[in-house]
Symmetry: D2
Subunit: 381 residues, 4 copies
């Protein structure tokens, strides 16, 4: 078998997420970058491509051009899938066009700006049978998978309480009017109707759903728009009711001063509970109704087999953000390889369009609830 | 000066809280137990008194008898104050009678079963000029005082976000129907209209108010009554809006399986934030917009003077729950001594009837909000 | 039964250790301070006594006077035991005189300045049958007792490795020549031949011995005397060989800049290992050959019965340094009460003269080894 | 510029270290694997090569063949450097041959089996001017670099104490005679005269030297050979004296039951101290004589510029073992690129032959000291 060939939309040299996607996709030696429409101009894209050792003729002036020209290349040469690494407002169109032209897709979250767009992609994926991965990267962590496995195996009993927070402080500078440039995440034309909701709230929503194997049914949201002339939420306090009957709280912020990337989830059931902290990602703390507290580690003693399988290095040697991100690509890559080899395998564990729809619905429900003084609002209309 | 003389209502030998109050009040050698109405019968009270080295004639069959008889003792002998260590429904009457008979009062929380009772006590204290301490013990921790001092001194800037949780798991056994006896905290005639709200929610409410030097203005509550035939809340997820404009979440539970006494508070301001965890009570973590994360410790470097002053032992030698509890008694005791010595001092830092009213109002607002599907409900009618 | 009556040598008002001994001994309501020779002058001792609510006629100008006069008091009034809270060089004489006059003794560590003195006390205790407690307070911690119980019950298998450190930084100021007064612990006439060895090394030695139920057989020591004109060691790096065959390292320091009271012990056996950190004293971490890491807590799930029994408050409510110290007094007090009541009980778990001899021998062996360029030196000559 | 071309000796598919070197070297898109002599037979090497998408004609039956044939390839095609990923006894010969044939070298540690071999390589590197990187990967961690920068900048003052441990438990199974296969690290013909000394002791030695910018002058070692028929050390307790005057302890073990990869270093100076724990690698704790404890993080506030520069992702997104390993390759790669481009740059920060010699000398000194009952033994004869 050969390496999988990836074309990238967005992610020019110097962009945080472009670099993350390249390193994560390349980690397991299964995927190679073959072309890109990295930047807003052909000139810049060519500069990016050069720094990435790409031939100039695979650097395209736009995603449209990339999709059209790659489609005309022979099967043994053209890209297999498109990865979309642009700001939120530039996810839908390239994803749609890629799918319509027979290319599989990997896409950053939130999937689209609107629920309608999200459902359009969902239908397209269903119709075309093409693969679609949404990079909710935190679900790629070994200890998140262990948490989910423990729920699925009934270790925690019936789940009745969740607590999730995703707190960052990097926008405090903007609030204090010391920021030199306004981030696109504060601009509704690029971020959509949600600010922190879109950027980090969807991660929190997805993580809780993933671990509990359930979905958020309704939310009661009280959002914050802290700072002068702030349009989009940069803070949120949200009550959750889940389909499995669990209740809980979500606290999100981009202005939680001093926090770096404090995504923490706690799940409580009738037999036990678990706690995971992204900044200390190689530990999963489990507390029990009848046993002393335990700490699970990747590749450590007594983790489930599917958890051990995703560790690339032995216990005690920390894997981090890039490796978890790489696990999304790896699962997607294995799926895609099976298709290219005409093998039928069960879909590996990676987030897809369904999770994308859920995320956008979550944003909309939270914004609506907040407008109506935190009234309970269902995600599914 | 002599030791202060304490009479105790409730807290017979074997009760958790009676022992706590005795150890905490005795810690600094300033207060001695001189009499008590410890148990439901005179016989049991005498047994308790004997174990506590009390003379039999200072063991009373009821709090009424204790107050009446002690009042008749000469000034140099009779108790100075009454401490009330009973279940919630037995706070109001003895507190009222003590105040009406000229005795200062120390009382467990929540102060009363109803808001009306709470306000009655508040007025009585105002009218009599007697001292009243409510044992919201967690505010006695050095690092909680450091947190408050940092807010008061503006170190954190404007406060705009709070997050508080108070999670215990000890009632999970009851939920799983394995508990042998039903705790009184699950019985509305003894606990009042709140279960977890009264037992631990009021601590969380008080702690947030104390540190931020503000009050909770309104709540949106979604309570849980987990388990068969459960009447009172044993779980709660609550949105908070504070008078200072801050918003936040509160998560409380007595069925958070595996948790011991996980009271954690995080406060975010425009310049910095702090985090305190009761189970790791000798650390205060501070994060900053422009400095690396710091960890403050009791008697450690750069704590405020009033914080250092309450450490009994040098840094690195942990003081715990009893010492923090003792700090409430110590502050109350210093206040009382100043009065007995006819000195005028500023009221030392301990919770009183105002905090007691706030706590009961918090319970009522949360229960009302929950009944009305989490509608925002003000604490002050 | 009545309270036990304690007379104190040293520990005048304002002294750290005097206050610790008073609070710790009073914690469980079993012991009362009845007399003292607290300070170097009668005048100061009377001032201390007044602050402690003692009658003036029980304040003595010297320990000799205290022992002589108390001896003449009637049985129902005189002190039961002497507690010695003085600098190291003032332990031996009062302890000896107390024993010779029929008083039980509680004594601070290290027991004496010389091995000869230590053995003299050991023989006196044996001869008189009086009780002697040495306040190696850290062994009073619940999690230290859990660690020892796990070793005794074979949970960890055969012990083959130990690691212990006791690091403080409070003397760095002296090293930097910023200290205003020279601490007596730096003065050989008061501290003995060991500096950090006497003050904290003996704690480390005792802790390792207690947990492993073994003794240090020989040491290879490389001591540090950091700072200008420093006479006594303020730092030490020591190899250990234990009687049970285990090997290990000890690192001690009073100039470990920034450390508060960092006593940490790790014990490794063929089945498992444990780790305890005094500054985080309510957790015991256990790691296993075949199970995930566990965290034990005082009064928590699955601790041994003798461990649970010493918790005064339920799990999650931290007990600290004073409570652990109080456990030494409590065990001693229960022993003494049994004797006063003519009951025969097994000696409760508290350190005594044997541990005192071991501690002084450890100091001497380490100093000797260091002088001879770290040659292995046996503790028992 | 083009990618750098790497040939690999050892590291066939399935080997832990081969995979680590491939992922780490590929992480930054600067280095590509072009050929290999991965396994003991050509057949297996070809299978490995196929899995790595290598053409069969670049898979060689031996390192000798690889070096000879690659040398004959045109400049635009042949490998630029050899990376050696074999057991210890197979480092020297391929490294020597590569250097003698003009290839730069990356080599696993310990560099060689004997001091003589190590010095031979050192001289060869000096003579040829070729680059040589030794993969002491832990020095690639951002927080280790911050620690070194703090020492170099005098933040900690004069360094006088070090404490280092490297504890693993994976060989306990062997000790308990439950291991199915004997690891090569227990075999003197493959590991050399040191067991744990070679595998992890050299990492500890290198880490202390790197951070303190000094070297270990002499050691007093007490090694353990725990288990039946054990030949090589699997445990060690070692006193250290450093060239800068600092003293300290080293504790190493492969039978520290339950430990995963517990490499912890603490460095104490006259102004402050630092602590780093490999298993929690994204934090550096600093304690100060006059400031509260701080926690530094990669890309966090107030880290030195050279530290920030090596973070690939923003603060709060953990980089781990592979990324730190990748930093060695990246520094080596930048050095090599500068040479291929005929630019002169200062040697980037990566370990080389000097560190390799030190490591082997450390092993020899420790083994010698242990044989002579822990007598102090100099590393440099």
């Amino acid at each position: 078998m050969r390496k999988l060939r990836m074309g990238m939309v967005g992610g020019g040299i110097g962009s945080f997420m472009g670099d993350v996607h390249r390193k994560a996709s390349g980690l397991d030696g299964m995927i190679e970058l073959v072309c890109g429409a990295f930047n807003s101009s052909l000139e810049k894209t060519i500069a990016s491509g050069k720094a990435l050792y790409l031939p100039e003729d695979r650097c395209y002036g736009s995603y449209q051009e990339m999709i059209e020209k790659e489609k005309q290349l022979p099967e043994g040469e053209r890209m297999d899938f498109v990865t979309i690494v642009t700001p939120n407002h530039l996810h839908f169109e390239p994803a749609k066009m890629a799918l319509e032209n027979g290319f599989h897709v990997v896409c950053d979250k939130p999937m689209t700006l609107t629920v309608e767009e999200a459902k359009t992609l969902e239908k397209l994926v269903e119709k075309t049978g093409l693969l679609f991965a949404l990079t909710h990267n935190y679900t790629g962590n070994a200890m998140v998978k262990q948490a989910r496995a423990m729920v699925l195996n009934g270790d925690l009993g019936a789940i009745y309480k969740v607590q999730v927070q995703y707190l960052q402080g990097w926008m405090t500078a903007e609030v204090n009017e010391q920021a030199k440039i306004k981030p696109w995440r504060a601009d509704p034309t690029k971020s959509g109707i949600g600010g922190s909701l879109a950027d980090i709230g969807t991660h929190a929503e997805n993580l809780v759903s993933y671990i509990t194997n359930s979905e958020i049914a309704e939310v009661a949201a009280d959002l914050g728009r802290i700072g002068k002339d702030r349009v989009l939420d940069n803070d949120g306090n949200i009550l959750l009711r889940m389909k499995n009957g669990a209740k809980g709280t979500m606290s999100i912020s981009q202005v939680a001063t001093g926090e770096e990337n404090a995504l923490i989830v706690k799940i409580y059931g009738s037999k036990g509970s678990i706690e995971w902290n992204q900044e200390d990602s190689t530990k999963l703390i489990a507390k029990w109704v009848d046993k002393p507290q335990q700490t699970f580690t990747p590749d450590g003693i007594a983790v489930y087999d599917n958890v051990r399988a995703i560790s690339r290095i032995p216990k005690g040697h920390p894997e981090g953000y890039l490796e978890a991100f790489g696990n999304i690509y790896k699962a997607f890559g294995l799926h895609l390889m099976s298709i290219l080899e005409n093998k039928t395998i069960e879909k590996p564990d990676y987030p897809s369009v369904k999770e994308g729809v859920n995320g956008v619905e979550f944003i909309y429900a939270a914004v609506k609830s907040d407008k109506e003084n935190s009234v309970w609002t269902a995600l599914k209309a």
